[in-house]
Amino acid sequence: MKFAIVVFPGSNCDHDAYHAVRHVLGAEAECVWHKDEDLRGADAVVLPGGFAHGDYLRTGAIARFSPVMRGVTRFAAAGGPVLGICNGFQILLEAGLLPGAMLRNRSLRFQCEQVHVRVEQSDTPFTGACRIGQVLRMPIAHGEGSYYAEAETIARLEAHRQVVFRYVTGAGEVSGEANPNGSVAAIAGLCNEARNVVGLMPHPERACELALGSADGLALFESAVRAVAGRTAPAGSRV
């Protein structure tokens, strides 16, 4: 099991993601520079958090044109699991791999705090090790994380069960106070219709060890290992 971790100029959670999958999870991991289209035979791709290209223009707007995104788009189209975390989620939105857009936080402040999210779907490659309704504690660190889409897009997302994570209280209830940024429908994370591309604003890679306050985020990476094993084992195409 090998993860490719894409590094854009301005990524700053690439090493956190590498540490989580390589040292905590024990999987293989390789960082891939954004000028490189080749994903090095990885089984799963992580677009990490940070401020790719300085977040100039809009978050993720320039990064979507980096050469590596051609490789990521092909990988995603072939069903490969792709996880966008924070800025990585914003890049997936700008690239059109996930629907919607991000607005400034309702507070207009950069928010760095622990939040709770509820797992809404367990049939994605990054939530297969979770149960529906499970509450995960992870940090957020963003200024533009207020998820927005037109009402009809939200209705379609709900109908196709594409809302993967919602901001909730510690008890698992959706409430105005538990929604840190004003996201529509308390959406913290989404998947595409094919379910293999997942994006979320909270940082699972920073919540993989109890020493960091929570190990809840590890479930996302464990899910990927399980999904890749399930995907490749029957075909026997990969040794």
Partner: protein, 86 residues
């Protein structure tokens, strides 16, 4: 040619920055300012003598990069010469 591109949030999209600016203006006593929408402004220098070509290119780059159609719309103005009326 010079193209001016004005990018603004769609009317349906809440603009917390514009709202905050409006509140600041009310604090300053400008109570007749009833609304503020914040946007972005771009000046493109385009190497073409054709008005239509400049407009076509400006529209294309606005669609592809300058504006996000999910949340933003844009308006283009073409100036006859670079620097004219700047």
């Amino acid at each position: 040619m010079r193209a001016r591109v004005f990018v603004t949030l769609k009317p349906s999209v809440f603009d917390p920055q514009g709202t905050t600016v409006a509140e600041a203006l009310h604090t300053l006593g400008y109570t007749t300012v009833t609304g503020v929408r914040q946007g972005k402004y771009f000046e493109l220098e385009i190497d073409t003598p054709s008005n239509d070509e400049a407009r076509r290119i400006a529209g294309e780059v606005a669609d592809r990069l300058l504006a996000n159609p999910v949340i933003e719309s844009y308006r283009i103005e073409i100036a006859a010469e670079a620097g004219a009326g700047a």
